[in-house]
């Protein structure tokens, strides 16, 4: 995910700010090299998903983590996903279903080439962390058919009632103890060491603390970060293959220092075109971004002085900003709580509460929803979410539509028109408030 940001440093200070970017780039490159070298090094590969990923546990078995969603994102950013989606549809996959899945299937059909130009190895195991998205289950059934490899199911119950119950925790811990861990031991040939897990979890907490600190700096005016477009880079290491590693700790330390510096200097976010100009609009965004036109999409915001101060998508691999941290003293229970708490595993009322909280706490001008055609987990119910958040916060909402990695569903003119109308609506609302106050 680091490949798209190619900001040229303009001053010595900028070089310092680039440290986290360079670090992430180096981490990702090393990870893909490790992954594609696995057939030579003999390392075992486990594919798994971002929401509910058990990186610390997988590291206990020396497994190299491959995340199909991240591969699809990479292909979206590189504009290769469109051809992969078409390839999958050609071989029988419906035009109606998730384009992450089709990008992945199409990529496999076209040689399964990683961002470093080398072939992805076949996974030794599919760790199906079935968390917050029904499509995950079908996705790994499809991959299992392709790779003919062992699949381990970890079922995370949905928080339909808005709470985590002891029954849910017990169910998940039992699955971890009696199914997931014994199978990972057998596949990896490594015996499980719970103290090793504890050590990784301790490291996770450090990175989680720094990530939350960074995200919450957006409460300041101007916000020193963009918590959606920029936030997607910030979550990369912790949502991916690095939670629980020294690399992640170092990355988030660099990031924190850089953002602290921007904050101290009263600077706004960094964009692909350099520092953002004057902050005019503060938005909360719900839903994933479009990746095929990511930069163009972002530009529509920063050209208008709009900064995203909080987003739900940056909570899809873990919600940390309401206090949750991995707890090394309860290693399996904490993994269960982590999975249960990810954003898309939360009930609709919980999601609305979170978004209202963001609009209020971050003093946003309103909620913008980017509704994704092929992601029902996010999209089903978003119109009600928008109306409810508007009602509760008194701030206007707006709705745009696109897709994750299918370029056919990105209509730049439509989105730009809607955004411009939305910004005008915010201006009118402000004028109305000023008039009422006068």
């Amino acid at each position: 995910m680091t490949t798209i940001v190619t900001r040229t440093p303009a001053a010595p200070k900028e070089v310092v700010k680039d440290a986290s970017m360079l670090k992430q780039k180096q981490m990702m490159a090393a990870h893909y090299d490790r992954l594609t070298s696995a057939p030579d090094t003999g390392e075992k590969v486990a594919a798994t998903f971002v929401p509910g990923n058990l990186n610390e546990l997988m590291m206990c078995f020396g497994l190299v983590n491959n995340l199909p969603e991240v591969n699809a994102i990479q292909n979206g950013l590189r504009r290769t996903s469109g051809a992969f989606v078409l390839e999958a549809e050609k071989i029988g996959h419906s035009e109606d279903v998730c384009t992450y899945v089709k990008s992945d299937i199409g990529m496999m059909a076209k040689g399964n080439v990683a961002p470093n130009g080398k072939k992805f190895p076949n996974p030794d195991v599919l760790l199906l962390s079935y968390t917050g998205c029904f499509t995950f289950m079908k996705w790994f059934e499809l991959l299992r058919e392709q790779y003919q490899c062992e699949t381990i199911m970890l079922h995370t119950p949905y928080m339909g009632d808005g709470k985590i119950t002891p029954n849910m925790i017990e169910y998940m811990v039992k699955q971890l103890k009696d199914e997931v861990i014994p199978k990972l031991e057998r596949i990896s040939g490594v015996k499980f060491d719970i103290d090793r897990l504890r050590e990784y979890l301790k490291k996770s907490v450090k990175a989680e603390d720094d990530l939350v600190w960074v995200l919450q700096t957006a409460k300041n005016k101007p916000s020193p970060i963009d918590a959606y477009f920029g936030g997607i880079y910030y979550i990369g290491p912790i949502f991916g293959a690095f939670r629980g590693t020294d690399d992640a700790i170092e990355y988030y330390r660099f990031l924190r220092e850089e953002v602290a510096d921007r904050l101290a200097n009263g600077q706004g976010p960094v964009t692909p075109d350099g520092d953002m100009g004057k902050e005019k609009y503060r938005l909360v965004v719900e839903g994933p971004p479009n990746y095929t036109n990511f930069r163009q999409f972002w530009k529509m915001f920063y050209d208008e002085g709009a900064v995203v101060v909080a987003s739900s998508y940056t909570k899809v691999g873990g919600v940390y900003d309401f206090g949750f941290r991995h707890d090394p003293d309860r290693p399996l229970e904490t993994l269960a709580e982590y999975c249960l708490g990810v954003y898309t595993n939360r009930s609709l009322p919980m999601r609305i509460d979170m978004l209202c909280n963001y609009v209020n706490d971050y003093d946003a001008d309103g909620l913008l929803i980017n509704s994704i055609k092929s992601c029902n987990s996010f999209s089903a119910g978003q119109l009600l979410i928008m109306r409810e958040v508007e009602k509760r916060t008194g701030k206007p909402g707006a709705f745009v539509e696109s897709d994750l990695v299918d370029p056919r569903y990105f209509s730049a003119a439509n989105i730009k028109n809607r955004l411009e109308s939305y910004f005008q609506m915010i201006e009118q609302k402000r004028a109305g408030a000023r008039a009422a106050a006068a």
Binding site: I91, G92, H93, S94, D96, V97, C98, V101, L128, Y130, C133, F134, T135, M137, K138, W139, E141, L142, R144, E145, Q148, T151, M153, H155, P157, Y158, G160, D161, T165, N167, M168, E170, Y171, K174, Q175, D178, E179, S347, L348, P349, M350, R351, I352, S371, K373, S374, N376, S377, S379, A380, G381, Q382, L383, L384, E388, E401
Partner: protein, 390 residues
């Protein structure tokens, strides 16, 4: 319709077409304190609702006769039809007599609808009913027993009195009988599909979504007896299994069109709840354990359920073809139905390996144009006859 089956089918048709839910309303009004609990596809343990003295009410969308006005304001164009017509039923007051709603674990859309319902109808008991995707008794089984216990507790609260084990056992017996009758009907249709047309079987089975189980069992018995004695002309149709229609229902005309086009439907996954548990649930012992064991080890396979064994994937469909003597499979999935459409390529690979021909199309519950489907099904029927050499 004056035939032996005619009266029964007429009654079932009235129930099917009645978007005001007159029959369940009348059931509720007949005695003070009665309650109705709705549920969406695919499966909820109706025994618990029945044991609380309540009427389980199956909600499978609004069909092709409901004009959706409000429901479309809640959903984007790329989301299937069933949630929007269900919202329409709710917002228009057609479900204002319903005291509780269960939203089973089936897909992200129905899952999220559970939260929407909770917000839109705060006075209604709403529960997202999760089921295990782990099938070990000591893992998924324990989890499921506890989920059942919570539901049992909640329903007991709703009626003001806890549900006893004996009440549950009686309800299990009533639903065992109902499922046996549905299985008999399906077996009869597979044997003599011209005697039990698919549309009739659908209507008679669907009546079970709005009738008390005892009344529905009586209807099934009557229909079976009548269908057995009534001679009807046998067409030169091929025999197919219809699959993918386990949630949003196809229009009745679609089911009729398949047979008119030359395809006898000898098995299907419509209204799967009526035969979800594939064998009787024991009426002795711990009723919740028994229901859990039945779910884990004796329940239908469908796209919403994880199949842990790669070799088993799709075999339920092959078995359905063999069991019913079908010659092919028609995949009919609702537009934008993630589980059915994501599952379809895998099932098709299994059928291909088994040498079973298939076709696929999509529908919506309000699809109006049947001509393309009729043409596709007709061509499929013709090709089956040509391939099979008959």
């Amino acid at each position: 319709m004056t035939s032996a089956t005619g009266g029964i089918v007429n009654r079932a048709t009235q129930l099917f077409e009645d978007l005001a839910f007159t029959a369940p309303r009348a059931w509720k009004a007949a005695e003070p304190g009665r309650k109705v609990v709705g549920y969406l596809p695919i499966y909820v343990p109706r025994e618990l609702i029945h044991a609380a003295g309540m009427l389980p009410l199956g909600i499978v969308g609004g069909g092709d006769q409901l004009e959706v006005i409000h429901g479309d304001a809640y959903y984007q164009s790329y989301i299937c039809r069933i949630p929007r017509s269900t919202v329409e039923l709710g917002v228009s007051g057609r479900l204002d007599f319903v005291d509780g709603m269960l939203f089973p674990s089936i897909c992200d859309v129905i899952r999220n609808l559970s939260g929407m319902w909770r917000m839109m109808f705060p006075n209604v008991y709403v529960r997202y009913f999760d089921v295990p995707q782990n099938y070990r008794d000591d893992i998924g089984g324990n989890y499921y027993v506890n989920e059942l216990a919570e539901l049992r507790h909640d329903l007991g609260e709703l009626r003001g009195k806890p549900i006893t084990d004996d009440e549950l056992r009686q309800s299990i017996a009533a639903y065992n009988e109902n499922r046996r009758l549905v299985r008999q009907l399906y077996a009869f249709r597979a044997e003599r599909p011209w005697q039990a047309p698919a549309a009739e079987v659908y209507l008679v089975v669907r009546a079970g979504l709005v009738l008390p189980v005892e009344a529905h069992s009586a209807m099934l018995r009557d229909y079976l007896a009548a269908a057995r004695t009534e001679e009807r002309p046998r067409r030169d149709n091929c025999r197919i299994v219809l699959t993918g229609a386990f949630c949003e229902q196809p229009p009745l005309n679609l089911i009729k069109s398949l047979e008119l086009a030359g395809c006898y439907v000898v098995d299907d996954d419509l209204l799967l709840i009526t035969r979800w548990l594939t064998s009787d649930v024991p009426t002795e012992g711990d009723p919740l354990r028994n229901l859990a064991a039945a779910f884990l080890h004796h329940s239908e396979s469908t796209a919403a359920k994880y199949e842990p064994d790669l070799k088993e994937k799709g075999q339920h469909l092959v078995r359905a073809v063999r069991r019913s003597g079908a010659e092919g499979v028609i995949f009919a999935a609702p537009s934008f139905c993630d589980p059915a459409l994501l599952d379809r390529p895998m099932l098709q690979h299994v059928l291909k390996d088994a040498g079973i021909p298939f076709i696929a199309f999509k529908y919506a519950e309000n699809s109006g144009q049947m001509q393309p489907i009729r043409e596709q099904a007709g061509t499929f029927a013709d090709s089956i006859k040509l391939w099979s050499g008959t």
